[in-house]
Amino acid sequence: MKCVNCGRERPETDCTTMTLTEDERAAILQMTGEAPTVVIFCKPCYRVVTDREMGARLISGQVEVRLRMAGNPKATQIAESFYKLLIDKSKTKQVS
């Protein structure tokens, strides 16, 4: 199985499969044009994404890198705002 975060191939026993809700599927469809029913994480990545603070750091870090690669001069500021938004949402349980 392939981890959706790091792309490493791992045996099924070393992976965690998450079934997406309809809302999550709709959000991913809007962002990527694809709507998977499940996402697979390897154990180390799953540990990170299920940790409220680490998960937010990882996602905002990836956002910053992609924005920077796209030449956005405000990549750092946008990523910092996104990090705060994710932390706030996780406190109100809008994201896990």
């Binding site: 790091c6 540990r47 990170v48 750091r57 990882l58 870090g61 890198v65 920077r68």
Partner: protein, 201 residues
């Protein structure tokens, strides 16, 4: 108080310490070109994998200097759980500071691993942030790194061991077990796996 180690292990630790200093000095000789400044700790959030030998040198330094504490141990355990088997790219994205860093200073500077001793930026320090690190330019250290890894491999081979890089926190925690008598250096792989099984979700 850490126990007295077998003579062969003590000799190996002394040798890796001496080799590290000698090889790292080859990089230090080029220092006038670097842009690193005291107090900058951007690279202290980079993925750091070290051998058990360097882990033991760090543990010994931390205990000798009185820096070892239950709080530091807890910090190392958390860092180890977060980073063990984590891909380096993901680790970099986390911007996760080294557990030995306090107020932008290394608490084990005198015993810092080879990787830390030889990583010097020559580009604008702003580029060293983990999210920008691919744009930064560093002093070339490929040759010295290969030389040091070869030296470490030779030392470990005396104990019939192979060189294995572990996250810095994991290496220090395994070293603690060796110094506290849970096993000898020759058992480090088993000790690393034992603690890993306990941290699996």
């Amino acid at each position: 108080m850490p126990r007295k180690l077998p003579l062969l292990t003590e000799r190996s630790l002394s040798q890796v310490k001496a080799d590290r200093l000698e090889v790292a000095n080859e990089v230090v000789a080029k220092l006038p070109r670097v842009s690193c400044k005291s107090g900058c700790s951007a690279c202290c959030s980079y993925p750091l994998y070290i051998s058990i030998l360097e882990g033991m040198l760090l543990y010994r330094h931390l205990t000798a200097k009185g820096h070892w504490s239950p709080a530091l141990r807890k910090k190392l355990e958390k860092h180890s759980e977060q980073t063990f088997d984590l891909p380096a790219e993901t680790w970099l994205m986390l911007d996760l500071p080294c557990p030995l860093l306090e107020k932008n200073k290394c608490t084990a500077y005198d015993a810092r691993p080879f990787t830390c001793r030889t990583l010097y930026a020559v580009s604008d320090p702003k580029l060293c942030h983990p999210h920008r690190a691919t744009d930064a330019v560093y002093l070339d250290r490929m040759r010295v790194t290969a030389k040091f890894r070869e030296a470490e491999s030779k030392i470990l081979a005396r104990h019939k061991l192979a060189l294995l890089g572990m996250p810095v926190s994991k290496a220090i925690l395994v070293a603690e077990k060796i110094f506290n008598g849970a096993g000898d250096l020759e058992h480090y792989f088993t000790l690393a796996l034992e603690s890993l099984r306990r941290t699996q979700p």
